[in-house]
Amino acid sequence: MHLYRRCTIAVCAFLCFGTLFAGQPLYTIPVEYHTLGNGLKVVLAADHTSPTVVVAAYYNIGFRIEPKGKTGFAHLFEHLMFQGSENLGKMEFIRLIQKNGGILNGSTRFDFTNYFEVVPSHKLETILWAEADRMKGLAITQENLVNQQGVVKNEVKVNVLNQPYGGFPWLDLPQYANTNWNNAHNFYGDLADLDSANLNDVKSFFNTYYAPNNAALVLYGDIDTKDALAMVTKYFGTMQPSTLPPKPDIAEPRQEQEKRVTKKDTLAFRPAIAFGYHVPERNTPEYYAMGLLDQILLQGDDSKLSQMLVKKKGFTSGVGGGINLLGNMFNYNGPMLWMGSLIYDNTVPADTIIAAWDDVINGIRQKQVDQKTLDRALVKLRSDLYDNFSGLFGFGTADLLASFALFDNDPGRINTLEENFKNVTPELLQKTAQEYLRPTNRTILVIEPKTGK
């Protein structure tokens, strides 16, 4: 639903303890992890800084593997989770949270759909009851389905169809860069597909994927973990697990040829360009190296691409991007792209931009970065990770805990990320750049604007 959200670019986040910071106390999150009898993964972490608690329910289903022929369905379904359950009618869940002094939202991403609230800590039980109510079952009418189809179509219009650079590059580029349908379809939804969704689809989707053994529940904030676990067990413990279908094949073959696509955008008046590279498999040494490459190349005013494209060449006022534009480098579980993009001027050919981009990329592929650059990248990562933790009143921490529970069965990973990044050497960085930043691994998308302005 992401109530009033535009797509935002998330920065790659990370914790570092290089020799620069010897003696600085380690910032750790006290993680408690339980799995209920029905398979529900429960993560509890106490932080009493503010009298609030984040409650986050993550289901291990996103738009990547939504039903073929029903593009946008997982996201539409997310909206429907707010439309009524056994004991809460339409809008009643939302009203319950807000009138108890809380905020809420949900979002559909590649590999999960999440529903989260930030509420005053003394209202924890109220919110757990409500979240359990909708995990147990939905109760929605045809009228509500039609209503949310209208809402979602308007969401697609306001964010994409009526907006210059509407889906650029977060929605467009994966469709060109990937070949497996699961990774390459329009996950916001073709309007016709959204219209074709019916109540049977909704029922089937819920019964298949919205079960405790396909979910993680995270409580982070001003809680007593013992009381919290008792409450969670009370409200969620009696639900029955379901049989999950076999996972579809989501692999992307190794890209062997550079792809270049030009897309016309009649709402834009300036050209834009995006580069997308397939990133290494999650949690491998090369994956951590990729996170550091992102910092060195793209994050911050000091990044190499900023210095070249903004400062030196004056092509643009900013280069944006990162690993996973719909989240960060930790909260997805399948093939992913590292993307960088910029808006430039009609007077500059795309090839000129590409040449300058290549200058920088070739530099990092041919010559090892010095330790100073690597150290600075580690500092930026650490700072970004802290920002991630505190983002949206602590939701950022809950998000990482949920992702690590769902994908790795190990939410405690949140405190151990640093070691892997610290282990990245200049040699590994260069080796990773040589393989993953090679031209045949990339897709270039050029936006051709409306001419005559």
Binding site: N87, M91, N154, Y386
Partner: protein
């Protein structure tokens, strides 16, 4: 009705458990330091996370621009990042990154913030860097063309956004020739700015008398105070802030921005209302929230959740120094532009005709009380709250009494605010959309209404 899932539907609905009793909430304590040159620094320790946010807030912005100087404040702000007397732009960038942050310069209507958010151990070093940026900008002429070109591009890109085009006309209608009404420059005006203009704008509008420093997060208070004093004490130059409160007068007006083939109409409907210095301002906030300011609001429940006309309805009280307006915005399916407008007016009138039920009001009040805690539970949030009350001259009391004042608002007061402030026959309406499809739909609301001059 379709029930499905893992339990059998019960005949009687359960009610949610009540939850516990609220904990006391007090605003984070602050320490105020006054420098010899009169600059005040407000330091707020907050949280365990080892980060600190530093904001050097200068009481200058677009409101200091003369008529042919639209965006000169922004150009000046960007030029301040192009180096100081002792640091090149690249050095500045690397230095800030090495602390885990960046130098950010944000230009607004009334205030410009020079700030950064770094790892705690670098707090004092960041203060010194920010002081250098604020006090000793180099303004290298060699970078001006590139910066101006960035703004030319930004102007073109911004003016391709339907929301920005609507906003531009709305502000123009409310504020006319006042700086708040001048949203976009022309290409030629942008091109005309010289390095002399930038230097003069800086000299006229930056200095100790206009500056307040905020620090929030985890930091060593002694070291921060030392760094602040040693970096900012010597900054004497500068004039007092310019006061220029607009004479915004509410008047019924209408403007259509043409967007042929648009699948949605972007709607802005609103008028000037009481500003934050008014003792009843909290009543205005509560009324706005109930009407359209949060998801459970009347307008949202109507045009989004009931009718599906839109994804993005929202109303807000937008404020500047001793000035504010109410505006309801929404991007609605083109074919229902008229019906959406009808429902918005219906909700405004309904609130004028009948005081809201106490339960509905309590929900709004609890929501505002709860989100007030959240607004004071982040470094940036704390700074925003303090800077707001300081700008408006309403002091600490506004924040310490906010929740109490919210909870004290009565249904009758809400109705009275709707009647006295949200006078729909004095509202400005701006729509960006497909004229051919929209004109007839909204005839009822635009006939006898003067079209705004372009």
């Amino acid at each position: 009705m379709l029930f499905f899932g893992l339990t059998i539907a019960a005949a009687q609905k359960q009610t949610p458990p009540e939850g516990g009793t609220p904990k006391d909430f007090t605003l984070p304590k602050k320490q105020v330091i006054t420098l010899r040159n009169g600059i005040e620094a407000v330091l707020v320790p907050y949280g365990n996370l080892p980060k600190v946010t530093i904001s050097v807030v200068v009481r200058s912005g677009n409101m200091n621009e003369k008529e042919n100087q639209v965006w000169l404040a922004d150009v000046t702000g960007d030029m301040m990042k192009e180096g100081t007397a002792t640091r090149s732009a690249e050095q500045m960038a690397e230095e800030a990154s090495s602390m885990g942050g960046s130098v950010n310069i944000n230009v607004g209507d009334d205030q410009t913030t020079i700030g950064g958010d770094v790892l705690s151990e670098f707090g004092p070093a960041m203060v010194r860097l920010l002081a250098d940026v604020a006090r000793n900008p180099l303004f290298p002429e060699s970078e001006l063309e590139r910066i101006k070109n960035n703004f030319l591009r930004r102007l073109t890109v911004t003016k391709s956004s339907p929301q920005q085009l609507t906003f531009e006309q709305f502000r123009k209608a409310l504020y006319g020739d006042h700086p708040y009404g001048r949203i976009f420059p022309t290409d030629n005006i942008l091109k005309s700015y010289t390095i002399g203009d930038v230097k003069k704008f800086y000299a006229d509008n930056f200095g100790a008398p206009r500056t307040t420093i905020y620090v929030a997060g985890k930091f060593d208070a002694k070291e921060m105070e030392k760094a602040i004093r040693s970096s900012f004490d010597g900054w004497k130059k500068g004039s007092k802030p310019l006061i220029n409160v607009p004479k915004a007068h509410a008047h019924k007006s209408f403007h259509l921005v043409e967007r042929p083939g648009a699948p949605q109409s972007t709607i802005y409907l609103g008028l000037p209302v009481m500003n934050p210095a008014n003792k009843n301002y909290v009543q205005m906030i509560v009324t706005n929230t109930l009407l359209g300011g949060y998801f459970s609001s009347r307008v949202t429940a109507n045009i989004r959740e009931q009718k599906g006309y839109t994804y993005s309805p929202s109303s807000q009280i937008s404020s500047r120094y001793h000035d504010a307006y109410y505006v309801q915005t929404a991007d609605v399916t083109t074919d229902v532009t008229g019906p959406a407008l009808k429902e918005i007016f219906y909700e405004i009138n309904r609130l004028q005709q009948e005081a809201p039920p106490i339960d509905e009001l309590r929900g709004v009040q609890n929501y505002l009380a709860g989100t007030f805690v959240l607004q004071n539970s982040s470094r940036q949030g704390i700074i925003n709250q303090l800077a707001f009350s300081r700008l408006q001259g309403i002091g600490d009391n506004y924040l310490t009494n906010y929740v109490k004042n919210v909870l004290a608002v009565t249904p009758a007061e809400v109705q009275h605010i709707a009647q006295s402030q949200l006078r729909d026959d004095e509202m400005t309406l701006v729509i960006t959309g497909d004229r051919a499809k929209v004109e007839k739909q909204i005839e009822e609301y635009t006939k006898d209404t003067p079209m705004e001059k372009k």
